[in-house]
């Protein structure tokens, strides 16, 4: 892995080193990687983001591993998670919230991962590698003002442009880096697209959501490059968020 070890991932590894039970690891990993969309209580944001509590989709480990490792129709991939980690997460969600399904072994997951591996998977990059263009960020600024600025502020600093709105969290700079550390732009994009703006999630085209992400990166100080951010969760899932190297 080229990217620097992030605090969150380091913490995860510490958990392993101290030999916590698999179920506990699964819960921590779920909170770090999955709960942003599927929520800690497994309720998700249906119908856009499915609930995992009571989900029949968990019955076949294949679907679970395939979606997590390589991404699904709308779900981003999680290329930094190894077989052991995916097994822990899969076991956790299959057993949590009264789902009552049996744990999955690391070996089982490793085999499935090999089966679903994406031969065209992009190389893992970081937001600091020049992953968007200046033009894309400018477009994002224009779209974000009306769509996001209401609650997050047109400078994305968590200060609503509209005084009636409850302040949203900052989407740029130090706060953003801290909260999203160790996650990918795939998760950020997917969460934003399917839950935002709250009054009307998903109303903008994918290109605009990606442009808004580019704008947030520009405010954060990440450098622009020569190719624009991709506009699919699958490709964005290979771009890590983390502190400036």
């Amino acid at each position: 892995m080229k990217r620097p070890l992030t605090a969150a991932l380091a913490a995860t590894m510490v958990l392993y080193a101290t030999g916590c039970a698999i179920a506990a690891d699964g819960e921590a990993l779920y909170a770090q990687h999955c709960a942003v969309c599927h929520t800690v209580d497994g309720a998700g944001f249906p119908p856009n983001i499915p609930a995992l509590a009571g989900s029949q989709g968990l019955e076949d480990p294949f679907t679970l591993v395939a979606n997590t490792h390589a991404g699904g129709a709308y779900m981003p991939p999680f290329p930094t998670l190894g077989a052991e980690e995916i097994a822990a997460i899969a076991s956790y969600v299959r057993g949590a919230w009264g789902n009552g399904l049996s744990p999955v072994t690391t070996e089982e997951v490793a085999a499935l991962m090999e089966e679903v591996a994406d031969p065209d998977a992009p190389e893992l990059r970081s937001i600091w590698d020049g992953v968007y263009t200046r033009e894309q960020a400018a477009r994002g600024q224009q779209m974000a003002r009306a769509a996001c600025g209401l609650c997050h502020g047109s400078r994305m600093n968590g200060v609503p442009d509209d005084n009636d709105m409850r302040p949203g969290p900052p989407l740029a700079r130090a706060y953003f880096l801290r909260v999203w550390d160790g996650r990918t732009l795939g998760s950020f994009f997917t969460y934003s697209k399917w839950t935002m703006p709250q009054a009307n999630p998903g109303f903008l085209p994918d290109e605009d959501y990606a442009a808004i992400v580019a704008y947030a990166l520009s405010l954060t100080g990440a450098p622009a490059g020569s190719t624009p951010l991709p506009t699919s969760a699958r490709e964005l899932g290979y771009i890590m968020i983390g502190p400036k190297p």
Binding site: G158, V159, D162, N163, M165, R166, T195, N200, P201
Partner: protein
């Protein structure tokens, strides 16, 4: 702009003819400038008949309206359209009330014409809108019955576990739902332009998307009829300046209209004001409504109002502020006047959010006068002063929805703009009332609260700062985050909507506000005020955040921002310089020491702040204190009205000739504009049709 005119010295009842002479009328028209209604319709007669004058009336019109905000101006235009002569009094120097500083998010529905336009994928009539609809057709497919069901749904709860709709007045809500579509058309016909609909505003029902914003297009001239506004007038030409036209800088509306569109209450209030003036509605500004006059104190028709002179004087120049447009203004500076209403009186003078004694009827801790209502500088001390509620009580009116103030996140909340008392809006220099706030404040959002410690009037912490500003979310159907929520099957009137299991899942209120206004060591009988709240931080925090502690954001001499080289000195300067300081901040130095110890230990045993966010020591001078405000914004309790917006008395009988609308009215838990405009439309309609 201060003018002296013959009318100033007019004696009560000694003038025949029109209340506004021709010379004055044309002078006022000429002063209105570009974009104003320079050629208004002839003003209606407002002087009393000899008989009325003999009874002590100073003016006589068909319909008199107290308040020129969203309900009052709408009622005025509507009554004028139906042929009535109309006189509006407003306590402020300019029109618009809080509509002018609003976001213009105007939730109506019931199958209104903007819903239908967006459903069909059409542009607006003028072709300004170039973006596709923001909502799916199914989410716009509305009806009056569905809207009525939504806004009276007993089962819907918010994230505080409280039910906003079940206490709404049924007769009023039915009429409201039925009048939403015609009100939408009425506004469109009076120069208001609406963006694409995106979602629904709080309290407007959950099943469908019902709320567009109001917009104007940036252009070379401000021309209400053409739909354009200059960047200077819109307040967007300079990031730290606004204009006399727009107290709050207009916001970008590209995503909902197309490039060049700006939106907020300016695009709603100024067009309606323009239409009202053009159509011959007359206004007496600087005039605070105090009493409804009935034939008997609690009997007979409402036949007029009493109003007192309430000039807004610039504290430095000593000049009276004057309205942006002036055609149709009647300049009367007598201490008290009586206005006869031949047909009806409409009370549209707002709610009680700016009246601490009235707020105390709902939440005793909110008698604390240090905390303002929104638009404090814009509206002055007469804003939201409960004038309609008090005047109504004096003539026997009944009340409704008195408990509903407790159930919406913007009713009262902790403001996230620090260092100004007027913490709701971000008005900049350039607006005539900026001087009353003295600073814009530093807007830090919820996230900014992790950068400091929050202390009370004696200098003690009282809550986890990170959780302090969080407001509970609005009303929700089970399982979904936003309204109307694509693809989910929502069942109105279903017990599952308020099942304990669902409430447990979505409840998210932290009660930080309630901790903030609780009693402390400095609270004294009889009111046990909590006192002011302060954000305390050091120079490291300023470096961390990049907060620009300079004018116009912060003003070191307005009593809401302090800095000092030691914490002890900081405490002393707050006590000496803050207008609502009652006790010294005697615990502040100890609090900062204790906090620094918590940061070293990585744990805050008092409020478990370590679970919520990073903790920073407060060690590097200079030290800073910025005020944190509690803002009471909305009023949901108020006068009881029926479906015609007629005021109903304590015996359940209509008070003939007396109407009320907007925040003066209780029993309708709806944030924002949709309540006021439709009430104004209904009241104006029926008031004009009274036989008198």
């Amino acid at each position: 702009m201060a003018r002296t005119s013959d009318s100033d010295r007019r004696k009560r009842g000694d003038e025949g003819g029109t209340g506004l002479n021709r010379r004055e009328f044309f002078k006022a028209g000429a002063a209105a400038g570009v974009g104003a209604a320079a050629l208004a319709a002839p003003a209606a007669m407002v002087a009393p008949t000899p008989a009325a004058a003999a009874e002590g009336w100073d003016y006589e019109v068909d319909v008199v309206i107290a308040g020129g905000g969203c309900a009052g101006i709408t009622a005025a235009i509507r009554a004028r359209d139906l042929g009535a002569s109309v006189l509006v009094v407003d306590q402020n120097y300019d029109l618009g009330g809080r509509m002018l500083h609003s976001g213009s998010y105007l939730s109506l529905g019931g199958g209104d014409s903007v819903q239908k336009r967006d459903m069909a994928g059409e542009a607006d009539a003028e072709g300004f809108i170039t973006v596709p609809p923001a909502e799916e057709p199914a989410e716009l497919d509305d009806s009056i019955d569905l809207l009525f069901t939504d806004v009276t749904d007993w089962s819907i709860v918010d994230r505080k576990g409280q039910s906003p709709y079940r206490y709404n007045e049924r007769d009023m809500m039915r009429a409201w739902a039925e009048n939403c579509p015609p009100t939408r058309d009425f506004l469109l016909a009076n120069y208001v332009r609406m963006t694409r609909i995106s979602g629904t505003h709080g309290g407007g029902g959950l099943s469908r998307a019902r709320a567009p914003y109001c917009f104007l297009m940036l252009g070379d001239v401000t021309d209400i009829e053409a739909g354009t506004i200059t960047p200077e007038d819109a307040g967007v030409a300079d990031p730290e300046r606004t204009s006399a036209m727009a107290p709050v800088q207009m916001e970008d509306a590209t995503a909902f209209v197309g490039p060049g569109a700006v939106r907020n209450g300016v695009a709603l209030s100024r067009p309606l004001e323009y239409a009202a003036r053009k159509k011959g509605v007359q206004f007496i500004l600087h005039r605070r409504f105090t009493d409804v006059i009935r034939e008997e104190q609690v009997g007979g028709r409402a036949i007029g109002i009493k109003a007192v002179y309430s000039p807004r004087i610039h504290p430095e120049s000593g000049q009276r502020l004057e309205s942006l447009w002036q055609n149709g203004n009647v300049d009367d500076r007598r201490p008290e006047i009586r206005i006869r209403a031949r047909k009806a009186v409409i009370m549209a003078s707002g709610g009680h959010a700016g009246n601490p004694e009235m707020r105390g009827m709902f939440y005793p801790a909110m008698r604390e006068p240090a905390f303002p209502t929104s638009g404090m500088a814009l509206q002055g001390p007469g804003g939201q002063d409960a004038s309609a509620l008090i005047a109504g009580l004096k003539v026997g009116a009944g009340l409704s929805g008195m408990q509903q103030n407790l159930s919406y996140p913007t009713c009262y909340h902790i403001g996230t703009r620090l260092g100004t008392r007027d913490a709701y809006t971000d008005m900049y220099p350039g607006h005539p009332t900026f001087v009353f706030r003295g600073s814009t404040g530093i807007a830090v959002g919820n996230a900014g609260f992790e950068e400091f410690i929050a202390v009370n009037q004696v200098g003690k912490r009282f809550f986890d700062e990170v959780k302090l500003p969080r407001r509970p979310g609005g009303n929700r159907y089970p399982g979904d985050g936003g309204a109307p929520g694509q693809g989910l099957e929502h069942k109105p009137l279903d017990w599952r909507n308020c099942s304990a299991a669902w409430i447990k899942q979505m409840y998210n209120y932290d009660h930080g506000l309630d901790a903030a206004i609780a009693m402390n060591e400095g609270s004294k009988a009889p009111n046990y005020y909590c006192g002011s709240l302060w954000a305390i931080f050091d120079e490291d925090a300023v470096e961390r955040t990049g907060w620009e502690l300079r004018f116009p954001f912060v003003n070191w001499s307005n009593g809401y921002a302090f800095r000092a080289d030691t914490v002890e000195e900081l405490a002393r300067s707050i006590f000496a310089g803050h207008p609502f300081a009652r006790v010294p901040l005697s615990h502040l130095a100890q609090t900062v020491d204790t906090w620094n110890g918590y940061v070293d230990a990585g744990a805050d045993p008092e409020f478990e702040r370590h679970n919520s966010g990073p903790m920073h020591k407060i060690v590097r001078p200079p030290f800073y204190a910025l005020s944190i405000m509690v803002i009471w914004h909305d009023s949901y309790g108020g006068l009881h009205v029926n479906g015609r917006n007629q005021v109903v008395d304590v015996h359940g009988q209509v008070i003939p000739g007396l109407y009320a609308g907007g925040e003066a009215v209780g029993g309708f838990n709806k944030h924002g504009l949709g309540k006021g405009h439709v009430h104004g439309f209904i009241a104006g309609t029926h008031a004009a049709r009274e036989i008198g």
